[in-house]
C-alpha cells in the first residue's frame, strides 16, 4: 500500500469549540493505517498543548492528557510554530511534555514536540500529501 504524508492542521483553541477534540479522535483512528503522520499546531492551535488544563469548572472533559498518549500510537511529530507562541506570550515552558520511545535508538525517550519557525511550518505543509484541517 502507498504510504502518504498525512498532516493534521490545528489552528483553534481547545474547549470553546470541539474541533481540537474531534481532530485528536481522527489522529487516534488514523494511527492504525500505517501512514506517515504529522500534527501542526499554529495560530490558536498552540493553546491546545498548554500544561495545567483543568476543566472541572466548566463541566467539559479535559482531553489534554490524550496528547501524551500519542507516542504509544507511533504519532511522534508534533510541530509547534514559534511565532504563534510568541504572539500569545507563550514559551516552550508553557507546553506540556509529550514524549515517545524511539525504536531506532534503543527505545530512548525523546520529545515529540518540535518548535519550528513559520517558514519551516510552511515547508512541513508543502511536504504533505493529505492535509486535514481543524
Amino acid at each position: 500500500m502507498t504510504i502518504k504524508n498525512f498532516l493534521y492542521v490545528n489552528r483553534k483553541a481547545p474547549y470553546g469549540t470541539i474541533y481540537a477534540l474531534e481532530s485528536l479522535e481522527v489522529v487516534l483512528i488514523g494511527a492504525a493505517f500505517d501512514q506517515d503522520v504529522s500534527l501542526a499546531f499554529l495560530d490558536d492551535g498552540v493553546f491546545q498543548l498548554t500544561k495545567g488544563q483543568n476543566t472541572d469548572g466548566i463541566g467539559v472533559k479535559n482531553f489534554s492528557p490524550t496528547f501524551r498518549a500519542l507516542g504509544d500510537y507511533d504519532v511522534t511529530k508534533l510541530y509547534v510554530e514559534a511565532e504563534s507562541l510568541a504572539e500569545r506570550g507563550l514559551t516552550a515552558d508553557d507546553l506540556q511534555e509529550v514524549m515517545y520511545e524511539d525504536e531506532d535508538d534503543d527505545w530512548a525517550e525523546k520529545p515529540s514536540i518540535k518548535i519550528i519557525s513559520r517558514a519551516e511550518m510552511a515547508d512541513v505543509m508543502a511536504g504533505a500529501d493529505v492535509v486535514l484541517s481543524f
Binding site: 470553546g16 469549540t17 498548554t50 495545567g52 469548572g57 504572539e87 506570550g89
Partner: protein, 102 residues
Amino acid sequence: MSTLHTVNKSPFANQSLISCLGHCKDGDAVLMIEDGVYGGLGGTGLTEIMANAAKSVSLYVLSPDLAARGVDAARLMQGVQGVDYAGFVDLVATHDRTQNWL
C-alpha cells in the same frame, strides 16, 4: 447606566474584542469568557490596547474558563480580574444591560 459586555472569542483569531472595546462607554464592564479569556493574557501584542481600555472600563475574565485552558491567573495582565459564575451573574445584575459580542 452602564453595560456589561461579554466576549467569547480569542482576540488572536477574531476581531470581536477589539470591536467591543471600541464601543464601550466609560464605566462599562467587559467580561471575557470561553476562548475570549485569552484576551486577558499579559505580554502579548494586545496588552497595550487592553491596558488603555482598562483606564475607563472594568476588565474581567471567567476564572473557570481560564483554568480549563491552563492559564495561571498570574499570567493575566494587570487590571484584569477573575470572577466565577456567581460573579458573572452579579455583573449581569449590577449593569443595566448585557451586550454579547458573538
